[in-house]
Structures are given as C-alpha cells and as structure tokens.
Symmetry: C2
Subunit: 296 residues, 2 copies
Amino acid sequence: MNDFKKELDFLGKIVEQELAKLLPPKDEYPPKLHEAIHYSTFAGGKRLRPIMVMKAAELFGMPYEKVIPTACGIEMIHTYSLIHDDLPVMDDDDFRRGKPTCHKVYGEAVALLAGDALLTHAFAAISKNSKIEGICPNAVLDVIEKVSNAAGTYGMIGGQTVDISSSGKAIDQDTIFYISLHKTAALISVSLWSGARLAGASRNDLETIKRFGENIGLVFQIVDDILDEKGDEKSLGKPIGSDAKNMKSTFFKVYGYAGCLDLIDKLSSEAKELISNYKNNNFFIQLTDFIVNRSY
Amino acid sequence: MNDFKKELDFLGKIVEQELAKLLPPKDEYPPKLHEAIHYSTFAGGKRLRPIMVMKAAELFGMPYEKVIPTACGIEMIHTYSLIHDDLPVMDDDDFRRGKPTCHKVYGEAVALLAGDALLTHAFAAISKNSKIEGICPNAVLDVIEKVSNAAGTYGMIGGQTVDISSSGKAIDQDTIFYISLHKTAALISVSLWSGARLAGASRNDLETIKRFGENIGLVFQIVDDILDEKGDEKSLGKPIGSDAKNMKSTFFKVYGYAGCLDLIDKLSSEAKELISNYKNNNFFIQLTDFIVNRSY
C-alpha cells in the first residue's frame, strides 16, 4: 500500500469512529431502525467524501480534526442516498459493497425510514461543528445551506430524478452531464467546499475548489459507468451490467469507451491545473489519479 | 369565523406565500419533481406547526416575521413526513386533504424523491433565518440540532418505526404514548421551542414551552384517532376507518372513547396550567381548545 492509500485508510478509520459517536447507538430503541442505519453506514465505504472535507480544511490551514462533524454529516447524506437509490421503486438493487442492500435485510419500510433518518441526522451532525473552537457559526450555517442545495433538487435529488426518468430513453450529451453533475459531482464538490469554508478560505479559493470537485466528481461517475461495463464483480462488490439491465443513461452509452477515456483525460487534467498553484496540493493530485484509476 | 380562526387563516396565508418563495419554483427543472413538491406543499394544510413557531416567538417578544424561514422549514418537514407515510410501503393511503396522495399522482419514485427533497430543503430554509437582523447565529444552529432530533430517530422517525412495527399487534399504554409522543408531539413541541429559542427565551421558559407542546401534541393525536373512528369524511378529506383497516395502534383502541376523552381533558388542562403565568397567552389557550375541539 502506498502512502496515499495509507492516508485514505487512516482517515477513513477516523471517520468511522466518529460516525459511530455521532449516530444513535445500534441498540437504541427502536432496535431494527438503528440496526439498519448501522448496517448501511458501516458497510465498508471508502469514505471519500468525508476525507475530502477534512483534507480541504487542511489545504487552507485548518487541522482536519476540526471539521469531522461536517465530514460525518456528509457521509450520512451519501449513505441515505444509496439506501433510497437501491429501493425497488428506484434502481431495485439487491447488492451493494458485496452485501445485500438495506431493504433486502430489513424490509422496504425500515430501509426508507433508515434513509430518512440518516438525512435528518446529517444536519444535526453538521450543526455540532459550531461547538468546536475556532469554527465560526456563520461558516457552519453557510455549509448547511450549501450542503442542502447540493443534496436537494438543485443537486443530487434533481440528478436522480432525471436519471430515473431517462431510463430506457436515448439521451444526449447535455442530459448525461446534467445527471452526473447533479447526482454525483454536486455532493463531492460541496464536500471540498465545506472543508474549505470552515477553514476560512477566500471566495476565489472556494470557487476554485468547487470547480475542482465538479471535475473529479464527473470523472468519478464516468469511471463508475465504465466499471459497470468492464469492471470486476468481486472487487466492485456488486454485479456488473446493472446499468444496462436497468436501461440506465450512462457516459458509456452516450460517448462509448474511447470517448469516455478522452473525457476522463480532459476533466482530470483540468482538475489538476485548477489546484496547481496551491502548496501542499499533493493529496489532491493523488486523489485525482486514484479516482481515474480506481477499480472499485 | 371568530378572531382566533381569523388569525390562523391570516398567518397560514403568510406561511404559504413564504413557502412559495423558499421552495424552488414549480416549473424549475426537473419539472415533475417540483410539481410534486408544490402539489403536496400547497394541498391546503392548516399550517399549525409554522404558526406555532411564529406565535411562540411573539410570546417571548420577537415579531413573528423574524422567524418565518424556520416556520417554513418545519412545515416542509411535516409535508415530507406525510408524503413518505402515505407511500404503499408505509400506510398506503390514497387520499389526503380530499386529494389523491402524491404517489397516486406522480408515481412512487417521484413521491419518494419529493419527500427527500422537502426534508433536505427544510434545513436550508432554517439556516437562512440567520440572515435576518436580530437573530443570533448560535440560536439558529441550536434550532437545526433540535429540529433534527425531533424529526429523526429520537423523534418522528422513531415513532413512525414503532407505529409500523406495532401494526396488527395488541399494544400497551406505554407503547401508544411512545408512538404519539415521538411521531406527532415531537415536531409540534419543537416548533414552539424553536420560535421561543430564536426569540431568546430563557432555559426555564424553553422547558415549559416544550412540555406545553408535548401535551397539545398528544391531544392532537388522540383527537386524530377519535376522528378516524367517529369523524366526518367530508370535513376530514380522507376516508375514516383507515386506522382500523391498517390495524393501526391508536389511543382509541387502547383507551376506548371514554378513556380518550379523559386523557384529552387531563392533558389539555395541564397544558393550559403550564402557560398560565405568561402574559399574552391567549392565543395558546385558544389553540389548545381548537386542538381539543377540531373536527378536521
């Protein structure tokens, strides 16, 4: 394991410890609900979004420990979105990260409520960030507003709605960009923005880090679409070909394999260029490469 | 119409105007999602919770105009909870307020996403309250944390989970109190608490108003259970007997009609006693009577 992956691993473990403290305990009443929340939250994600919050704070001079509640809040929102997306009425997926999806284990009603709960608790977690010394309450309020926008109809939910309604239809390049920018890139981008905002980054820097996040978020989705066509089921932890099965709109379908590789090249180069002037940008250069080259 | 009902009507209209400004427009892309959000948000609710936020602020000396974003955020949470509760996987209700439920009009996927969106946008709305002059950012952050707790697994979602899992079972008095205190009273109580907190109420006053809210919240639910047995379908806007059909746990089932009337009497007297020492408590005395006597 190289140093970058060691750092991901190290920070990911911290995120998991803090998530366990911020969420109600697994055996809290009512038990089935809390078991379902823990089942999906601790299902072995890479914790990329919370790590981005933490490293973006560090890039602007704030120790990552100070933004952990926000990092965990965003991971709760990510987890809720996976639980709801997997429901039969949405993508109807039976497996995620090598394990049966939440509703396959706990039933659809509890899965729906577990997702609602994670989304709800996310904002309490972020609000708690204001209790940490050196954090400005107005910065936390800005983060809450931006995260809500990125997760709401101007972001993730907007993207998911168009994704679902485009299923089985021939879509154009604008639409696949709309879907991915909203469904995937918005939350990744706001993770970076939030860490930078809490650290007191300037308006210009916030705009730059937001655009960097949109670019690597799009790359993340393009790679996802390629992996669903050409990935390895074992390392992915889910069956490949589910996009085709669900007649999903993907970059692969719109651009083809070669077109996707070109897009990845262009977007990741732009991303690296955007952050080229920052000192200590090494993590973000490696993160970009990691997202380009990931196989799971 | 008496003065109390005129005031409810007047404040309710203000809430609706502000909700329309705080939510994305109905014709925003993607249209079906935003139509569904507007359909359920503007379906003719009584707006009791947001009015409670506003009048609680007034009780502690702050003009109600200053807490409208929080009032609207809580109404968004209430509306999301109705949309998700009506889904087939939950209560499977076809009508609400005399109109087909959200999923009957827009399909289950869009209804699920519209509910998610309202919950998400609620916290952006509340965070915007900090932009209003005279409002302390830390008070807004406290409100976000408390509202999240009242809507999450320690509140509404916890109550809904036990409600669903108790369906068809004989339950005891403790369980029906748990369900109603969490599913119904928590959000009503936190509405009052939030208005009072933003107005700068003392710790003691916050505790009093919270307990007042729990009492009238329980009365609200007991009356709801009675109306489902003995109400008028036309004024209710939904079929009666749906609790029995869904084998729901209700106060009516556990306490009987006479027992319910005794409970209402006890809880509403306690509520009035709690706020008896406040000047200008007239609205809240009338609100208690309104909740006791409502027929819809």
